[in-house]
Symmetry: C2
Subunit: 374 residues, 2 copies
């Protein structure tokens, strides 16, 4: 036997992927029954599968948890065959992210104890640089393991976006052995107007709120005890049923009574022990078909295309053809979104893509067409 010098113990790291969401912005590929995390146009896999894959080397599939709606559990299992059934939790109702975070933290706590670290992640965003993303997560989990703080993965703003929440950074968090780059959070700001957003970006003090967080089980439990004790108690009643036949009934009973509130409002904006990092790993929330175009392979004319597509004298379009054996042709047109699936075809200018839910609701509200959005 060779004697080794003991290293500091690495934290036990779990990833909880929140996979609620709707399909409206990605209709007709996205549907109510097939929301954005199942869209498989990027890298040939559903976004939720990419979310698990990019953790490789940091969080093994056996330590991944997915929180989704009960209806989507079968589709989620199909998209993530490496996960065992108990790793996919189906919420009986949507109660926003406070409930989902509490549920995920309770599940990890039961399985791995109060010192385990939970990364709350999103199911439907893209990150160009997975290695940089993993380094950021590893650093955040390191600080969450060593200090009683909750870490927010901020995003270095690339432009004065008005569709995201911003977080103002305060003084650095320093200490022996702590990873660099973390700062105390000064305040949360809801979606600002363009002028304010531009000021934020110029100041260098703000990051976008990505909705990704990292905390120790015990730290988040303490925050819930302070700001949402009823939610903590509800999840403590559910926890003994995880992985048992009684899990579904327990969730149904407790979710019925829960408030619908985001974890930002419920906990983060109140907690003093919040730290954030300025993440820089090519994050994109792929919010609309217009932004999705940038992630599609470019054809000879610079259009973002997927599937069997031909363009001529056309530029800046996003053209998605999800039906094999079908041809989509665009001629003399610029800056359009064209999306074709087996049973529906969408045409809209990129500039209108942000309002696509209006169309989806109109289609869903008409009995003659409602089936096309389900």
């Amino acid at each position: 036997m060779i004697t080794r010098i003991a290293k500091p113990k690495k934290p036990v790291l779990y990833a909880a992927i929140l996979a609620g969401g709707r399909g409206e912005r990605f209709w007709p590929v996205g549907r109510a029954s097939r929301p954005k995390q199942f869209v498989d146009l990027f890298g040939g896999k559903p976004l939720i599968a990419l979310a698990v894959e990019r953790l490789r080397g940091l969080v093994p599939p056996g330590r991944v948890l997915v929180v989704t709606s009960r209806d989507l559990v079968p589709a989620t299992r199909a998209a993530l065959p490496a996960l065992s059934p108990e790793q996919i939790l189906g919420e009986p109702q949507g109660r926003d992210t406070a409930a989902a975070c509490a549920l995920a933290t309770a599940w990890v706590g039961k399985r791995a104890g109060e010192d385990a670290v939970v990364c709350i992640l999103t199911a439907d965003h893209l990150m160009a640089d997975s290695a940089a993303f993993r380094r950021t997560l590893a650093a955040a989990s390191e600080i969450a393991a060593r200090r009683p703080v909750m870490g927010l993965i901020g995003i270095r703003p690339t432009h004065p976006a008005t569709g995201y929440g911003y977080v103002e950074l305060g003084p650095p968090v320093a200490g022996p052995g702590l990873p660099k780059g973390f700062r105390r959070v000064r305040r949360f700001v809801e979606k600002p107007n363009l002028g304010t957003a531009a000021t934020y970006v110029r100041s260098g003090r703000f990051v976008w709120n990505s909705g990704m967080f990292v905390w120790r089980v015990s730290t988040f439990r303490a925050a819930l005890a302070a700001y949402r004790p009823a939610l903590l108690a509800a999840m403590d009643r559910v926890a003994p049923r995880f992985g048992t036949p009684a899990q579904g009934a327990a969730l149904a009973r407790e979710y019925e009574k829960l408030d619908k509130i985001s974890v930002d409002y419920a906990v983060m904006e109140k907690a003093p022990n919040l730290v954030a990092v300025r993440g820089d790993f090519g994050w994109d929330d792929v919010g609309t078909w217009a932004s999705a175009g940038a992630h599609l392979p470019a054809d000879a004319e610079g259009n973002g295309v997927h599937g069997l597509v031909r363009t001529l004298a056309s530029h800046g379009n996003a053209v998605v053809n999800a039906e094999k054996g079908h041809l989509v042709a665009v001629f003399g047109a610029d800056e359009l979104v064209v999306v074709h699936t087996r049973d529906a075809t969408l045409v809209c200018p990129k500039s209108s893509a942000d309002g696509l839910k209006d169309l989806v609701r109109a289609i869903g509200g008409d009995p003659a067409t409602a089936a096309f959005v389900r």
Copy 2:
């Protein structure tokens, strides 16, 4: 027996519908194997069926002849089940309209003699006022029966079109019992530029050349004898084989040697015995998807639509959906052409529809997509 006063004998009237053409301008509904005359978006029937139908009361189906390409004979029979097989002639090669007119006239001559009147008609135009069209044809056939003239059905110009040939009208043709409105033809003018076209329209002396003609068999034979004797001789060699098993071989033998030339160049521009009428029956050659839009039913937002289509915040589009069970949705877009069929979808601005053949040729020239234009 009751004795009646003998009326002047009505001419025996035949209609010869020239149905060559290509599908390029109506891709993807039109294909090389399914040219424009088979497009069935207007009134629920193929254009060629509408061409036969609008003759009702003037020319019975038994006196209709269709001249098309040999490849299209089966599709033509399917579109015109009321016609017997010998009424559909398949040309072995495209030799332009001089050959088709000579062939049709020879066929009518063999069947009904030299005094029969032939109306040369198009397979792929629309006429809003069928009754007015029949009145014009009846008048032209009356004059062609009584006088050794060839009648051109002109179209009263509605705008300074630059895509049509123009015909300048001369002095009126008058005489006892002759129909009114016919004038001698002064000259043919090829597609003019916009300024010249505007002058023509303002002058009131010009009509568009519709490509529709009316003549007695004997009159056209005399013109061929004068200007295209080889063509007349070729058709005289074919004539004995009409309706026999030798017809195909005879056509193949003669067509091989024929010049490819339009009847306008070969005969009409040379003949002194040409008369024309200023037709006014809502003629439209439906030249592109952009012009086709005006003939489609309008939706609530004023878009021309066919099939299961939903538009929102969209105006002036032509949206054709030829696939049952499929939804085409247009959102926030104006002045587009969107055409969907089972295996192909086209998106282009109306302003580009005129150049659609460029796209079709590009698709046809690529082995990966050539099948979609055949």
